[in-house]
Symmetry: C2
Amino acid sequence: MTLKVDKLSIVDYLGSNKKELDSIVLQYLPARNVNHEISSLYEMMRDYPSRGGKGLRGSLCLLWTELFGGKREDALICAASLELYQNWILIHDDIEDASDLRRGLPALHKKYGVELAINAGDALHGKMWALLLQNEKLLGAHTSMRILSEFAMMLDETTEGQQMELCWSKNGRWEITEADYLLMVTKKAAWYTCITPARLGTIIAEARKGKAGISGQLPILEKIVEFGTNLGISFQIIDDVLNLTAEESKYGKEILGDILEGKRTLMLIHLLAVSPESQRENIIQIMSKPRQEKSREDAEYVFKLMKSSGSIDYARRLAKRFSEKALSQFEDILGSAGIRRSEKYKLVRSLIEYLTSRDY
Amino acid sequence: MTLKVDKLSIVDYLGSNKKELDSIVLQYLPARNVNHEISSLYEMMRDYPSRGGKGLRGSLCLLWTELFGGKREDALICAASLELYQNWILIHDDIEDASDLRRGLPALHKKYGVELAINAGDALHGKMWALLLQNEKLLGAHTSMRILSEFAMMLDETTEGQQMELCWSKNGRWEITEADYLLMVTKKAAWYTCITPARLGTIIAEARKGKAGISGQLPILEKIVEFGTNLGISFQIIDDVLNLTAEESKYGKEILGDILEGKRTLMLIHLLAVSPESQRENIIQIMSKPRQEKSREDAEYVFKLMKSSGSIDYARRLAKRFSEKALSQFEDILGSAGIRRSEKYKLVRSLIEYLTSRDY
């Protein structure tokens, strides 16, 4: 019963954060220009940020700041920039992954073409750094630079993860191990969803206490990498499961889209590992088809095999194991940082639980 | 005679700067990773920075810093980052413009595919900001943040200019005025080639003198925008002329490539303006063809008309007018900033002359 209340209240909490962060982003982005073409660029830049979303990254950053005794106002620019990060990188990701839908609407390159979408992604990327420069007044130049380096590190990791996944697809590699998958997901999802938002919260909170120097924070920041890796992996596995099992209207992306796009998910790796040779070849032959040649039936066939082979249950179990590890590391971090179990603590815990047990 | 010596020595000077800046960039970029796919990303990131180039932007930044009494060492990171900027944005530009060649070799997306090239461009983009963070030790956090805001402004302008040109192409717009063209070129070329490098030089030099505050520099920085606009326009017109008339081996891009790509250059705008109606329709019909359907003969036909209609001479005359304006504004800036006519002064002047009178 308590859990249910928590889940409802965390959804409300995320929603109200997201609203606030989106309005910071949209107020910051340019809206109109006398030149028609430039106005159309602004429109493209405002498109994904206007589509909503759950606001997980920004909320985690805000909550973590408060958990560590910092002020919510100090974290607003960072949290909004995390949402902006997701928006620009998804524009490019959607091109790279040939995704047709984003949050229930056509992907940006589907609306405007690949050329303009690449450019709009770059323009939005630039605005992320520019928005982060506004931290100077709030947090001082040194801490602001420190925050920028966190964003740079996050981008390194994300692009490396994306490269791994794109190369597997381009080179037709199917002998992916679970370790390969976990490294890719850590880089591509855990860093920007969990690790960086939490690290930023710690840095912002400590800056207020006059501890902007990196040395004192280092052990905690290292622990956050481990915690965030486990949480992010769990989050991504659940996301991949939802891609198979969620309701499309809630999920906002195409159901079975990962199979249609030929993605190497944990379920697929499991399925290939447990399949007899001929079935394995059959699955790879289907998965290797270009998207436009892959039928709904092809995708349903692979999905059914995943169900009957226990691949989905396996993925859910693994996700649970990673989320339990994350929770215990979370308690450990709080202990070593001497953080009290306050109301914020409860909220972060339910956010962690939500991330790994949501149904859309 | 003196001019010839100057021209030789400026080419040498650019070459040696470029070598130094490239080695800063290549030393900074990651080279190897145990993971094969991640290594391939690093290889892609190092590709364009390894191809050489003239190093105009970095050199202008270095020279301008010294001209204003600053230290060359203080400007090295900025200058290297300007070269890095050009490298990552050209990766994306080459995709957006469907360019096949870059500096005499296949464009990155031709070697690795569009998906990987977009991602590698983003990764390299991130490294530009990360490299700029190293300014903190050299110039302090506040000036470093000021420099970052210049890079953000430059990116705003470049992406707006790119949007203008891409939209003209996408929407089949041919009734482009000279004013449209000049605005596009100012945004797409003048900012990152001339305006920002010179502004950065002023900011770096003044920071050493303890004048990091923006207020005192504002009038000079505003004047640099005007000067750099005129210089950049002249530079770009010459570049467009060279695309028609240079030797391919020296130029490094495909000759007549702009016609094949359907670009709205000053020569084309002039040609369309002076052509009788039927010829005008003929030219537009050819220019509108998709690149792969456009023959060498098509491009030669338009090129010959540009010659016979005086469009190339017209463009050269206009370029000269803009470069004269830039030179006089340059003298004006030095006067109002109280800068002596030193050796550096001579070098900057010959760089300005080189930018607008080069033959490749």
